[in-house]
Each structure stands twice: as structure tokens, then as C-alpha cells.
Symmetry: C3
Subunit: 210 residues, 3 copies
């Protein structure tokens, strides 16, 4: 059973790589910019996860992941102009990839440490850091400061997966449930504007007038 979960990882890499390439198209970069952002987004979150878990970084042993990111970047370079709204497509692909990576990251963290809280954090890191790196380097507003549910969706999906696994639910079933919750929350944010209540007492004054 467990080995099917690796599909979550591969599909997530393709989708995140596509969001990196779409970001490159929005910034009108050259083909190498597409490939760079596709790789950064596709393998960034998982690389940090593996480093933190003291594991070999996944794509060093399986360079197929890199070839996938490059192929995705080239494909997007050739087809992005057919899309009516690249940004919408980008957001929805990102939502799918976030859900897949939240589950896979939690799965890997849980397998290696047995700690639920560490597993939820590695799930959230895997799911969000690739997109955050993409946005910081491309100069887009990043997920941390955007208003929508983003990190929360990844945390919730990872928590559902880990919670179900603690109750001995089968791996694949727990994975689909966790992925469904993460994607559902993020989809609600995108389509219906779902937000968590924001801290509202008052905004910060500028740093220069303390």
C-alpha cells in the first residue's frame, strides 16, 4: 500500500514545477528562468524536509525528479499562452500540489520520527516552502502575508493524515482523507474567499517611528 503514496510525491512535483514555470511566464523570464523556478518550487519544500529529517535529499538518489521539473518547465514555456488566466491555473495547481505534499511530507516525517507534531510540521514545510521560495525569489507577495488560508490548509491536511494513522486507519485511506481536507480548505479559500479571523486590534506602525 505504502508504495502508492510515492505517486503523491511525483504528481506534486509536476504540479509545483508547473506553478514555478507559470510564475516565470508571468515575469517573462527566459527558458532557464522557467527551469530554475520549476526546480526550486518542485523540489524546494521536499529538500528542506529531507535536510531537517537528516535524510539524503530525495532527488540526489533519484534524478528523475529533476528531469520531470525540466520537462514540465519546457512544456509550460510552449503552452502557457493558450491559458486564459495563468494566475488562476497557477493557484489551482498550487492548491492540488499543496494537498499532495502536505500528506506525503507528513507521511515521511511520521515514518522517520514517529512524532505526530514533527510529522505535521514536515507536512506543512513540504507543502508550503517550495511555493514561498518561488514567491520570494520572483518578488511576488508570499503566502505568509497573504490573507487567504494557505499554511492552515497544509497543517490541517497533515494533521488529519497523522490523526487517522494514529487510529490505525489504512495508509491510503488516511492519505486521501488528509489530501481532501487540505485541498478542500484551500479550494474554499480560492473559490469562496474563506479566511481565518485576522488579528485586527490594530496594524503595526512603520518600523521607523517606534
Amino acid at each position: 500500500m505504502t508504495q502508492y503514496l510515492i505517486l503523491f510525491d511525483y504528481i506534486g512535483v509536476v504540479l509545483f514545477a508547473a506553478t514555478g514555470a507559470l510564475t516565470a511566464s508571468r515575469r517573462q523570464l527566459d527558458i532557464m528562468g522557467f527551469i530554475f523556478l520549476a526546480n526550486l518550487t518542485g523540489i524546494g519544500g521536499g529538500s528542506v524536509r529531507d535536510v531537517v529529517l537528516n535524510q539524503p535529499v530525495f532527488w540526489v538518489d533519484q534524478p528523475l525528479y529533476l528531469a520531470i521539473c525540466i520537462a514540465t518547465a519546457v512544456f509550460v514555456y510552449g503552452t502557457a499562452h493558450f491559458l486564459e488566466s495563468r494566475y488562476k491555473v497557477l493557484l489551482w495547481l498550487d492548491a492540488c500540489a499543496l494537498a499532495l505534499f502536505a500528506v506525503f511530507g507528513a507521511h515521511k516525517g511520521f515514518l522517520l520520527t514517529g512524532s505526530p507534531i514533527v510529522a505535521i510540521l514536515t507536512g506543512a514545510m513540504t507543502a508550503t516552502l517550495g511555493g514561498i521560495l518561488r514567491d520570494v525569489l520572483a518578488g511576488e507577495p508570499n503566502a505568509v502575508t497573504r490573507e487567504e488560508i494557505y499554511v492552515s490548509a497544509a497543517v490541517a491536511g497533515a494533521a488529519v493524515y497523522v490523526g487517522l494513522r494514529l487510529m490505525d486507519v489504512q495508509v491510503l485511506l488516511a492519505a486521501f482523507a488528509g489530501g481532501f481536507v487540505a485541498f478542500g480548505l484551500r479550494a474554499g479559500a480560492l473559490a469562496l474567499g474563506w479566511t481565518l479571523p485576522r488579528y485586527h486590534p490594530r496594524p503595526g506602525r512603520p518600523p521607523d517611528s517606534p
Copy 2:
């Protein structure tokens, strides 16, 4: 004796986590934004330190650190509006945490490598990278480009600790001396505007007119 030093680490994590949460309150993020920035700031610097030293990342074995960051974030979410100036509180908590982490990071680096210069660098990294990551992701001006003494305070504190240890001064005494120097320099910067002489011949021209 040495085991008391771990207190520096725990207290530093709480204080840095609080600065992350205060930054989230200034940006009016939701509760998950508070938790995200609290974790990033609280454990970011130490994580890089451990990775660089080829050690297991500290919070993977001791998830209590994560629980502490989350609890701190929730506490700040509920109480930040009582503060008259969150930015001032943020700066002073950051100064204390910087001093504690400069010493603890230097201690860990020195213990593991025996090299004074590596120990000073790991001290400085532990003390400053969490705050720098916080500021980059939250879109605040980061410590590298601010005018005040910041990195210098961490370097000085780490250097004092390592220097005293080389002279066989007791661990706790060296730690308090190092922490005192780091905090004192940073406090001088905050309260009295201490700066190092800046490079002043002339500023850079914009990159687009080389």
C-alpha cells in the same frame, strides 16, 4: 554545569517565537500566520546551525520546542493588544533572544568542532538567522541593511564566550559574560542609538545605470 546552558536555548526560543508572533500581529495575520512566524523565528536559526554542523536538527528529537512556539504564538495572539508599543517590545525581546542564542550557538559549535572561528559563526547564525528569515518573509527591513548594531552584537557575545572558554573560564560564567556583552551592545543600539561607523564614501548607484 553545562546542562544549565540548555535553559538559554529554551528561553531564547520562547522570546524569538514571541517576536515572530508580534510581527504577525503587526501585519494583522490570522492565527496560523502567528504560529508560522513564531516557529520560523524560534527554531529557524538553530535549525540552520544544526544542519551546518551536520547534527540532527534539535526540534526533531525534542518536539517540545514546537509546542513551545505554538503556545507562545497563541498567547501573543490573545494579549498583544494590551501592549502600548508592540514594536518596542518586539525589539527588546529580540535583543534578549539574540544574546541567549549567540552564546548557546557558540557553545554548541565549539563543543562539536573545537574551532573558535566556527563557533563564533555558529553563534552569530543561531542568533540572527531566525530574525532575518522573519523579516524577509514578513516584508520588513531586515537586520543586515538596518543601521543599528545587530549582527555585531551577536558576534561579540559569541567571541567573548569562546575567548573565555579558551582561557578555561567556567561554562556558566563565560555564558553570562558573553550574553551580557551581546545584550549590552544591542541595548546600546536600541536605547542610545549606538552604531558602528558606516561605510560612507558614497552610496551605490542604481543597478540599472552601471
Copy 3:
């Protein structure tokens, strides 16, 4: 033969450290800002490479690298005002360092993994991440979103090195060929304005009007 390649690494560290210090001079930072950016740029890319390859980070065992970065920062602090255009000097030093690191990073990655694609990626990472970190922290436009050939030059140089090594060309010869290609491409970008064709159908609309 192979041991001469380490010279590429040392010279690259000096040159990248100098670009970090020149960036600090353009931002009119204090001496510690010079040292911080010199270290970040000089050892940043190689640190990520070593972490990703699951190797001890190179400067932890050989703190001489840190001393070199510090000395370079101090030297630039004392001499930058003699330069007529610091930005031009910065760009050309960066081009040399990029070429040296592309080859050395590819060499180290190839030696450790035997995978050509991983070697090209570690070459590109070593060559570009130090400069990207420098630009992100100093608030300069980073290489990913600039129009010129930058990452591409590193990739091409690394690919030439790896390709020649696969054809059993001698290490030093392959290294000079790879470095020549990387520097040549970057020099063409700087002096003659070489670019790759950019994705031009249309730029992205702002994120807030999806």
C-alpha cells in the same frame, strides 16, 4: 591533478566574498555588514551544495575559508572608494566566481553521486545561490528576475565540464573548458547584452486582479 581544482574553490570564495563586500559598500553598511555579506556570498552556495549532497559543510572542517572571507571584507572596506564603478567591478568578479564555482560544484557533485544531471544542478546551485542570497538580503534585484544570462551560464559551464568528463577528458582540461564557457557566456551578457529569448506573449496581471 584533481587536487588543483580546489584552487577554483578558494579563488571563487575570495571573489564572491568581494562581491558581497562591494554590495555592502553600495548599501553603506558598517564593517560587520561587510563581513556578513562577504561570508554569506562566499560560502552560501557551497554550503547548500554540501548539505544537499549530505556532506559535511566545507568550511566547518576548514575554517580558513571564513578567515578568507573576513580578510576580503576588510580589504574591500578599506579600498572600495578607489574604484570608479563598484557595480561594474562587482559584476565582473561575480562572473569569474560564477564560472569557477559552476565547475567546482559540478566536480564535487559528480564525484559524489556519479549522476550527470545532479552534478549540473549542484554546479548551478554552488555558482548562483551565494549571489542570490546576497541580493535578496541586500534588497537588490536578484539574478532570477534579471534579464541577463546568469543561471544559464552556470548550467552551461557545469554541463560542459560533466560532458567532457563523461568522455574521459582530463579533469583540469574539462575544468578549464567548463569555466571558459560559463565565463564567456556571462561576459557576453555583461559586455554585449546577450540574452536568451524571453517568454513574451504577455506579462502577468497583478495577483490582486485574478
